[in-house]
Symmetry: C2
Subunit: 369 residues, 2 copies
């Protein structure tokens, strides 16, 4: 993470009058607090106190069975025993990176992609490329169904099955169940079981604070993946897993997803309308799901300086450089999230952003004269 951008975004969070359009937070209105509370109380009162004790590195069997059954329903050959519960999707990506990548080995990603995945690849000193035909390609990272930051299907995800014929693919389904049209394709591992590191999470669909994600590695990597998980942090939280397993046992999760899709689609409409009205020159793909859009601009220069100006105007965004393997600032792009704010706040945030961009352009013109 760029240190200056980090400082700016953190500072903006301490200003209560700021409308943050960055961050990619799920809507807390959708957190099922009462149901989670009931599940917690039941878990902590269970005679064996397993929710508070150590557990196995691979995780809670009931939770693993839930993950497997949902993948089987979509056509994949997955048993509960194939699933490793991870400390969020990020750990599933990090484990895959440790197994597949290493000093200088190459991973292909979308031109803009999930920043923390890039961090995970950098942490193992991988080479990040945009060229799926790179001669030294060791694996690919794709987000099937819905990408981040664009909130739309990506070209690389469309090519993933073809790529999987050559190299392993990390398929991160963090947003796949949040397509507004409800379409959920066959998971990539259904057609390439021995080449796909399937990554999933409850962070976007239930809540992120529990840190419950999962990895389904190819069977040839199952033992190494579990060893890497164990060496990383022994196991995902027993309490979080016990709460989630009990919660899911009583929840109609598909109905929950349908509600979440409608909820986010409404917020996405508000953001799209506001951008078209306030930033009519902006280029972006209409979101098909997920949490955000990426606004492309013709502005050159320092996206962190624009962010500072946006914060001064009472809003914020995620600078485009965070999503680029090159970390390039130009041409300036901005991730705007519709997930975390109610529609009126989104509209007001985009209005403030338009004023900030106007001021930025005037300042650039003055500097150029």
């Amino acid at each position: 993470v760029d240190a200056r951008i980090d400082r700016l975004l953190r500072a903006s969070c301490t200003r209560p009058w700021t409308i943050g359009l960055g961050g990619g937070l799920p809507a807390r209105e959708l957190f099922p607090r009462r149901k989670l509370e009931r599940a917690f109380v039941a878990a902590v009162r269970a005679p064996d106190a397993a929710a508070l004790q150590y557990g196995w590195p691979e995780g809670d069997l009931q939770l693993r069975a839930w993950v497997a059954s949902r993948l089987r329903a979509r056509g994949a050959d997955v048993a509960a025993e194939d699933v490793i519960v991870t400390s969020g999707a990020q750990q599933a990506i990090a484990i895959s990176a440790q197994l597949l990548l290493g000093d200088g080995r190459a991973v292909v990603v979308d031109p803009e992609t999930y920043p923390a995945a890039l961090d995970g690849f950098r942490a193992v000193r991988a080479r990040i490329t945009l060229d799926a035909d790179d001669a030294e390609l060791a694996c690919a990272y794709v987000m099937p169904g819905v990408g981040n930051p664009r909130g739309a299907a990506t070209a690389l995800a469309g090519a993933a099955l073809a790529i999987a014929r050559r190299v392993p693919v990390i398929a991160d389904e963090a947003y796949a169940e949040l397509r507004f049209d409800g379409r959920l394709d066959r998971p990539l591992l259904a057609d390439a079981r021995d080449r796909v590191f399937h990554v999933g999470t409850l962070s976007k669909t239930l809540c992120p604070g529990l840190r419950v994600g999962w990895l389904v590695p190819p069977r040839a990597f199952a033992e190494a993946a579990l060893e890497t998980k164990h060496a990383s942090d022994l196991q995902a939280g027993s309490l979080a897993q016990a709460v989630v397993a009990r919660f899911l046992d009583e929840d109609d999760f598909d109905a929950r997803l349908a509600r979440a899709r409608r909820f986010y689609a409404t917020r996405a409409d508000a953001l799209v309308d506001a951008i078209r009205r306030e930033l009519p020159w902006a280029r972006f793909e209409e979101p098909e799901g997920g949490f955000s859009v990426l606004v492309d601009t013709d502005l050159d220069g320092d996206d962190a300086a624009l962010l500072a100006r946006a914060i001064a105007h009472g809003t914020s965004f995620d600078p485009g450089r965070l999503f680029r393997a090159s970390s390039a600032s130009s041409p300036i792009a901005m991730r705007l999230c519709f997930s975390g704010n109610p529609a009126p706040a989104i509209v007001e945030g985009v209005r403030r952003l338009a004023r900030a961009i106007g001021a930025h352009r005037r300042a650039q013109r003055v500097a150029a004269e």
Copy 2:
């Protein structure tokens, strides 16, 4: 982890009549369930729902302040901002290993030490040595106060301050607050702030299922440590941190520690008496704290075979090879834990173990004839 030993220990856990003397589990009798339940309900009902939302990678500020204030009270120069909340002590060790070790760099450890730390060092392909004067030494791993598996102070921990003059030291205080005599030395980082990666956890003193530990890196490594944490799993669980922060705010933690020390000392006495009675030939250090003793024997051969026999006799232990950098089975050693079972179960477990060892010896004699 040795695959056969893993299978044996897992199988033994599915047999309800087995008295497991391995595993190193804290006593569930000490888990403050009602207080944790109250803390959870308060956390999940808080208007901002922060316990269910994403948080910063460094963790909850209140919890970090609690860790820092306890270290300051022991003489160390630590501010809340210096503390990174980790997903258990294991992740703090793994992060330190990623920063300090790498292909072939050497770490010195005790002759027997915490198995998952060894796994963490192996995961980064470090060289593990028992020689503190190794010419290529890159760091040391010590457990101040109380070691695992021996439950007593170790020679390497005694030499840690001298070693810290030459190389960084990972100081894992997992058991330090559980010395039966209540002695808690100045933390190593109080006298070598710029050389010590201080590791702590609530897993032994509160409960492990929350996965809350911490790392205080030297200031020169602070940024890199936080980046590594973020790339590993974004953050420790928000829910677990919120529950713990609220719990600690109302708890007399030192009184809790005093109770835990008395509780475990009683169980330790039961184990020591049983070993002296049932295995009079066994060599072991009397535990000064922690959860376990390591029983040394003159038996050569396969400790996994002895474990299989112990399981057949209705008990189990952790084979000595797990604690050795060399993974050597001979001479056979056994970690026996007093932490997880009531005294009568401990006594019966050791009785069964004595019968199993007798049968093992007879079988060896028959095989030799």
